[in-house]
Symmetry: D4
């Protein structure tokens, strides 16, 4: 267990630590760690409320269970979790996990209470719902409220007006708009709203550009100011970005 700065200073004053040793301790080994804390802000996670995130599909089940156990007291969001992972994690931490089967997420630990202005979540189609739900789980893990409306289409834009009004009434501070295919939905959402919009392309669609590339390109090329983008199918990223915006907007309330 390393000495604190105060300890070193005192040891030096008292003569139990030489000037050279004190300097070296501060400089070489010990300071480094302190400096790291200061510089790299290991408390960032706590302050921003971003949980540890594990992308399950590139890890085997046992490893995921092990990580879950290690984080049971801190908050862990497991994403893209195959169905049988739920049973294993739930068996290891009975009653300690929250599953969202559509989102394929498992939350381990206790979620903070959700407060303040919420974020809105909208999808163009039904195939986009899992990605939207993933964003919702991320927000929940960060203590941010959500209001969501799904399958609102673009070809039938009249389906969008009622949800848009409800989002305005809920005083959302930003909107996550999820869409595959041609990806025009976030642009339309953005043109109808006065809050910032985060577009999430999904890998829905087929043929040329059907792996989400058309949707991504479309959102990046948008002519509607006030829209930024995360990667294809990245509900986690959209949820984190929106929640950090919400936290800035809600700061005064806390």
């Amino acid at each position: 267990m390393p000495m604190s700065i105060k300890d070193i200073l005192d040891g030096y004053r008292q003569g139990s630590i030489s000037a050279k040793v004190a300097e070296d301790m501060l400089r070489m080994d010990y300071l480094e760690k302190i400096g790291t804390d200061v510089l790299f802000d290991v408390s960032r996670q706590q302050r921003t409320g971003i949980p540890e995130i594990v992308y399950a599909s590139s890890k085997d089940r046992d490893t995921v269970v092990e990580i879950a156990l290690a984080h049971r007291d801190r908050g862990l969001l497991i994403s893209k979790a195959p169905d049988d992972y739920w049973n294993a994690v739930d068996a290891a931490i009975p009653g300690g996990c929250i599953r969202n089967a559509k989102a394929k997420t498992i939350f381990v630990g206790r979620r903070p209470e959700a407060v303040g202005r919420p974020i809105g979540i909208m999808t163009a189609g039904t195939s986009d719902i899992p990605v939207a739900e993933e964003a919702k789980e991320m927000a929940a893990a960060m203590g941010v409220r959500t209001v969501s409306f799904y399958d609102l289409g673009v070809a039938g834009m009249h389906r969008m007006t009622e949800p848009m009004k409800k989002l305005i009434e809920a005083d959302v501070c930003c909107i996550i708009a999820v869409a595959g295919m041609e990806g025009a939905f976030p642009t339309v959402v953005s043109s109808l709203s006065t809050v910032p919009v985060i577009g999430v392309p999904t890998s829905t669609g087929y043929g040329f550009g059907g792996d989400g590339e058309a949707a991504l390109m479309c959102m990046l090329q948008t002519c509607s100011p006030g829209l930024s983008v995360v990667n294809v199918d990245n509900g986690i990223g959209a949820g984190a970005m929106a929640s950090m915006i919400a936290k800035q907007c809600n700061r005064r309330n806390e």
Copy 2:
């Protein structure tokens, strides 16, 4: 100058041509040309009204003038013509050409009278106008009427309703929708209309997908049925497709 089928038949009957020679003439040399006419329908152009088209920017000015002179009696549409080509062609065929400076086209010859139900032409932005005008010139060259509205936007969709109504009043049989950037405009047009729509992506925009690829992908991925696409900046192709649709719709009137 080759003998006609009738000549050969007669020559054979009269004995001036042997059976073998007659058969060979029919089969090998002469029939081939006839057969070609039948098969490949060299009169297609006349019947469809598609003029000869010359893509000027890959040819030098003298060659274009030469081609213009050769087609002065038949109808020729010169596309993507640099400014100085107009002077040269106009000097060679004074009073015999029609220029569209925006479209960068020169029409050589006499245009057919435009009749029947028109085609609608709409653009999302002002940068898309040259491509729209190119389509308009192609329609004019094929004797098809056009009604056009430009710079209708997507972000401000309210600008689209008045033009849409005017197109409906004009009883257009199809609509050409031209757009760059994210290319969502033709999808919106299609969702608001009951006639087939031809989308034309333009090379407007910058960054990822900015050479028209985003717009093209977006149109190909459209979730609005009743929309097909031509290549980036291909106003000529869109004009031809729309005009051929118009000609089928107008057939009974002719």
Copy 3:
């Protein structure tokens, strides 16, 4: 159940609704819906005859059956349906569905009678037939007649002349040309016909460009005017575009 415009006007005249309330009702809540109807034309579907379309492969079987039940009276085309979906849908709506096993489509509801000038459908190879059949089902769902010829090749273009003649005799108003590999087939069809052609690239082929990209590029680069394109394997889109052209051509007959 919201009041009609007439009800509001009358309530206002009779004094049961104040001017402010009448104005607000018209403006804020109620008009919005009316306005939406006017603007976004929810009756578009009925007038154009485009059925609801469900892309089955991104939805689970139960969801598809549920959607089928909800649309049994209105007309629904289920595309890319796995084999076992048929049994489930057919069991839920016995005698109420039409299956096309090659096209992998299920039509739910009653199809309109097919009338007027038909559309032609041609394929270059046998692998392109499922996409062509999908287009055929879409046309049938929209009440448009079809005439189709498959496996006509490009390398052996002599196989195309007889079908081309038959299409002309059938007085088709446009042609859908389906091809994978190098995708030159629609260009050849277009050069031989006087009606507009809709090219459909398919994901047949392998190696560089073998996922339909070569075919798509080839069709977009075509030098034959009168050809437009839909996305790779998008039989539904081609069928819709062609049927909308047919409906414009047949309008006078209805």
Copy 4:
């Protein structure tokens, strides 16, 4: 000049307008416009403070001057303006424009006073400065304050700590991080901060991925939550997104 809803209601009550006509006026022509206002929110621009934006490099100088004159009272941001455009616009509206030569922007009209929590703007290299300045101008046009630090590098991350501290002291509500080459800079910024970060890839760099594609991909693939992206070189888009976040955060102050 169309009648107001109130006028129609009154005319109807007074009998000067028949029920049928009143209904039609509301429904067909007049309501449409009202409905459009309600639905599409033409006042969005005023409320969000987003100025009209003109992408100058795809328009000729005279057109830009014309647009500038038309918007002199409302606020217009001209982006990517060639040098000689400034002279022309400034001559047309003497004293009425603000130029940023690095950003290649011209602002026409009066800028709102900048208030509330600012946004931070950082660049990795000197080549990224024009894009950062464009974002700064967009924020200024929207009445949002900015604090900026440029040329902070990635290879020498020690250059980043002082600016990061200054941004925290300035209480920025979000950070725009601009970078070309490998585009790792926004990820590092995000890992060091507790506010949302908007990454802007720039077209700096050469060879494979050197047109901004590497930077864009890198930002989309980021493993640091709380980072979203706009298109390559899109300073305007980043400025708008950040300013809209700032406006939500500052709302209580207004």
Copy 5:
């Protein structure tokens, strides 16, 4: 059964066919077919010796068996045939098929005797052998002899000298060089030989460019004159090209 040209000529001379009817028969219906034969050269296949080719993997087993039965007398090469197709085809045409398990080909019918100068076939690695064997089967189906050497490497170029010498001794008229990975092998082969070389990229390798794209690009960029290319994994195409070269070289011998 249509009349021959001779029949028509005779019928005309004898008066049983009028001039008009003879002319029409020749021109409209009948000539078309004859003309087609002449133009499109349906006998091309026989003269060039190219068999009918069926790409099995995009067809079901029953269809392939059916096609095999239909071509049993003419020569059919089935490529990329799954293992169970062999049993089915062999059962349907016992003793009438030749299988190459490595090449995944089945030849149906009788192969012409292989004569004349052979073609050389070389591969860089062992993974390239199936594609090389496919080329060999194509040559065998066309009556062309082959000499092949496999797994000759590039990193160890000394393994190439002995095979090169053997190919020269065998007096090959051209060489097929098959390689995946970086695809440099055909360039090296070409630089060591005096006959034309046909490069075949294979989809061996992984990571960036690993689907055969690196190999294809490398061969297209070759700085060694005398090398042309077919598509990735296209052993059939390489075999056909090489065999047609061989047939031109061997013509005098036949």
Copy 6:
């Protein structure tokens, strides 16, 4: 100047060279060079008749003149030569060069007499002619005869029949088919001929795939056996490949 093998052998027999030295000379230094000659066949160029080739556009004029002077006795083909290079090279070697202004080539030295069966060269459009001429110059430099027909189109396939017949009459041993845009031309040529075809995509066309990529993909995906490809605009490569085929076919005549 190194000793010949014979010299070493004699020196060893005569005792002027020790066994060790002779062995070393043969093995280490000297044999290497000899071995190189044997292995790498430095006389390949003479035997195949491939001239030295210089790609001028990546070299400055003085360097090209210098190279020209160095090769004046051996045969050098300068490709893609800017116009002013001709003057410089011609001034340096008066009367010793042959220019092809269309092909942008300069041949330095004496060309071999062209003998034997020729190669055919065809282009789809007029923009493809420079690439075709480049191929022609390469053949001329290698002593191979050519017969060429340009601007034969695809949309108007009837223009191809006469040239095809002339090529057959000229007994060409292979055909170079040059095309941009959709690149279907070589496939059609191949389907009409019985000799091997070398496709050359050109960078004609615009929009998606317009840099020659569509044409290249189309040719690689061809369904017509007997077609191989060189890189975009690579007339030199096509000319070399075709000439090497011709040399194999003509071998017996020499």
Copy 7:
């Protein structure tokens, strides 16, 4: 069994071999082999210590066992080996193989003792470990020591300082840095170290650029001098490169 150079020299001196035969033997057949040895350095492998490498996943199990048996005395590294290959190879050569289950490698033969300055191996995430282990096995096969630290992140850079210090203490001569996702890790490693770094992108991640392309691009675009790259997932290549650097650094010690 060919004669040695000495034998030929002696035979010539003794007259049992004529001058012509001796010259020919040296030149044509025999020298070729010797020359090859000299030129192509078949002993390269021994001197560099690179083992024979077999990429198992493109070969069937029996072939791999066969190759293993053939190389049991020389050293063979089997990579990307499916699990059941281990059993088969281990059964064939009991006790003669070394397995690394994470790396999916099997080493056949005896590994050289590892000596000299080691190479460092670091990974950004846990998903990158198999690729890192593959590199480690390659180094072991070449007799090079390794020191490795895994899962060091980028978002939490403070985790990197301790391992960096340990690598410096271990006096590594170069570092292999393995990372997927955005691939910024090797750049950071390079900026913190004074030894050359070899970046290995991995195919971790999803969406746009998720197949390792983002990571590859990022590393190629790095602004930190002293970093070079191998292909995606190519642990073998990185291990070989690093080991060859180590061997040059350690040369004096051997």
Copy 8:
């Protein structure tokens, strides 16, 4: 000017600095900077000898001169410098700069003496020389010796043997191999040498893959172990990587 750690410690012991202030100074402000030095190793540059590098082509001339003046005492390498930059920099720092016109580099300051084992530099063609020269200048700036051979070809591999021998005699510790077109050259160099090879693709070539992408892919796909890659045209990066390898190898000599 901040206090040193020693000063703070002494001030604390002497009581002129309170415990709280000393701790804060160490922790918050001051330590941060020290910590940064320790962590981020600002002396890395001096120890590795990497000069400051400025990529001139994305900066205007005045900025470059300014940077040059600022670094005149420390060592600065200006790359891709337009011709007129030389005059400006040379005028500002007369006699203080070293130009390499081929490499388009300017070195400002004094170069360290070059010592130890050199690095080899080879190019496939003459167009690759500028990139090779850039690498050479980077090595010179880092005090590393170079031996270079240019224009060694691949098609004529016999030209490579003599230079390879010379590099071995010079005892190079690694080789930079520069090549465009198909990029096979570094693979061949690697297969012939026992030292690590750094491949540099160049943007030489045209058509598909001609911007250096073919060469890059080819090098990444190499089957020769001991080859790593830097980005297209990145001579600086190759020079730095090679020099850092050399410095590790030469360490014992210093």
